[in-house]
């Protein structure tokens, strides 16, 4: 069993496209939330007369866990759909996981990753 965890930071405005692109290559389960990123892409702000250089920009973090064979298509799908070409497009990080469970059934490992009979 080989399973990967993929963490992706993208622009908020690209979320719908990325989600659709991923669905097309078979990634149906993802989890996401709002994050803020500090990086090079900055937008100057003035609050009540005080300019504050903030590089803080709202982003969405998506994580999903998938079997290895889905990895490449998923990454490519994201690279394409999340790209604007301007600074601040975000990153993808991949790491290993050692085990997984599906809470509903208690299934473990590989089996937790896909629905019996749907593959």
């Amino acid at each position: 069993m080989k399973m990967k965890k993929v963490e992706v930071v993208i622009r908020k405005s690209k979320f719908d496209e990325v989600k659709d692109a991923m669905r097309k290559v078979g990634i149906e389960f993802i989890t996401f939330w709002d994050v803020r990123g500090v990086g090079k892409a900055t937008e100057e702000r003035v609050y009540r007369g005080i300019v504050y250089d903030t590089s803080t920009i709202e982003r969405i973090m998506i994580i999903f866990f998938c079997r290895e064979k889905y990895l490449e298509p998923a990454v490519n799908a994201i690279l394409e759909s999340a790209k604007t070409g301007e600074i601040g497009d975000g990153k993808i990080f991949i790491s290993d996981i050692v085990d997984a469970y599906r809470i509903r059934t208690g299934e473990r490992g590989d089996k937790a990753m896909y629905l019996e009979g749907e593959e």
Binding site: R11, K12, S13, E43, V46, Y47, E58
Partner: protein, 424 residues
């Protein structure tokens, strides 16, 4: 003989006093209802902010503030004269800084403030339909021009002694279903049309997608505030409260206004429930507003029962209209301003021709009033559509109307104002 001499004598000496009180009573009434109408600005701000996304909240709130601010100054400086001057049947002429005399039954300043808050309402309606993608400076310009000329001219026709009020059967728009709301709604339509839909509103196949607003709590509060504001808007338009006739009129107006709003809300709720299987609040809020807008033209002359029917129908019409604009014509109107104010404003004005207890078709008075209402609606709508079309085209050409793609995507708050609405 002695009798009558004495009597007139005494009466005149007391009559002055009495008249003073009538004057006071009218003034109080107009000022307090003006305050309530002013409060509608907060209502609009909340409804529009609530129905749009949080990344644009600062922007939409800012626009709602500034249209009132600019309207206040411009309407006082010029607009008021155009609307209420007596130049001719088409426009009232110029009365710089409103220094002429207009009323004898209340101070001119009371009349001015009441009309100011009305004028600002028209402008503020537009911002909702054009939300989430309009340049801030373009907004300031067009909102100024609406208060400067578009609203005052057609306002003059109906309320300032202009040609609509001089027809043999005068056009009847008591508190502004057409004069205020339809004008705002039509300008909103031309604005949203000129702008085009928000990014992401329609997919590649042209299918409308939902873009839920960020806070239905704010939107609901906004509707409650608008509702109480309407208790100024409609009864205040009587412009008097002294004497039994006026007192009875404003009381009836309270009741018809309230019942029509209730009718709108209940009809929308039930209709959506039947159609989509679930009662939804965001649409029902529009339904209540639709009932309020629709009864505004005839609130003084329909019965409570008539008001209920007008409201009930408005509640269905607004749903059909929202879907029509969204799915068929594909004009993207985030808050439903075109349907609520434009369509229901026109609809409500026409209904007076049917439901007016003294002149309406349904009460056996023939179609004369209805004809006048048709003429009124058609002419005011044409004026509003034509002038705002020219306005928005020119603005687009000369200044640009829409923000850039990046700004729209990341939010107008950060790029146009350097300020996000929500922080920790």
């Amino acid at each position: 003989m002695i009798h009558t001499i004495l009597q007139t004598d005494i009466l005149s000496s007391l009559g002055g006093e009495l008249e003073n009180y009538a004057f006071s009573i009218n003034t109080i009434w107009v000022l307090i209802t003006a305050s309530l109408v002013f409060f509608m600005q907060a209502g609009f701000a909340l409804v529009e902010a609530g129905f749009t996304r949080s990344k644009n909240s600062t922007n939409i709130l800012f626009k709602n503030l500034m249209d009132f601010v600019i309207g206040t100054i411009i309407f006082w400086a010029i607009g008021f004269g155009i609307m209420f001057g007596s130049k001719n049947g088409f426009w009232g002429g110029i009365d710089l800084f409103t220094r002429n005399t207009y009323r004898t039954d209340m101070p001119d300043m009371a009349f001015l403030i009441f009309q100011t808050v009305f004028a600002a309402t028209t402008a503020t309606i537009v911002s909702g339909a054009m939300a989430e993608r309009t340049k801030f400076n373009a907004y300031l310009i067009y909102s100024a021009i609406i208060t400067l000329v578009i609203y005052p001219v057609s306002g003059h026709w109906a309320w300032g002694g202009g040609w609509l009020s001089r027809m043999s059967v005068p056009f009847h728009d008591f508190a502004g279903s057409s004069v205020v709301h339809m004008v705002g709604g039509m300008a909103a339509m031309m604005g949203a049309l000129t702008l085009g839909p928000r990014i992401g509103k329609y997919d590649k196949n042209g299918k409308a997608k939902a873009i839920p607003g960020h806070s239905i709590s704010l939107a609901t509060l906004g509707v409650f505030i608008l509702w109480i504001g309407w208790f100024g808007f409609n009864p205040g338009s009587q412009l008097a409260a002294a004497g039994k006739v006026n007192a009875s009129a404003i009381s009836l107006i309270f009741v018809t206004t309230n019942i029509s709003a209730a009718g709108g809300a209940v009809a929308t709720m039930l209709y959506v429930w039947l159609k989509n299987g679930k009662p939804t609040l965001s649409m029902t809020l529009n339904g209540a507003l639709a009932g309020l807008v629709a009864v505004t033209a005839g609130c003084d002359s329909v019965s409570p029962g008539g008001a209920l029917i007008i409201g009930l129908m408005a509640g269905v019409i607004v749903v059909l209209s929202v879907e029509f604009f969204d799915k068929v014509i594909k004009i993207d109107d985030p808050v439903g301003a075109i349907s609520v104010h434009g369509i229901c404003g026109a609809y409500g004005t026409l209904m007076v021709g049917f439901f007016s207890t003294s002149q309406g078709l349904l009460y056996g008075n023939g179609g004369a009033l209805l004809k006048s209402q048709l003429i009124g609606v058609a002419s005011i709508a044409s004026w509003a559509i034509f002038t705002s079309f020219v306005l928005f085209r020119l603005l687009k050409l000369l200044n640009g109307l829409r923000v850039g793609k990046r700004i729209e995507e990341e939010g107008l708050d950060v790029y146009e104002h350097g300020e996000t609405a929500y922080n920790n």
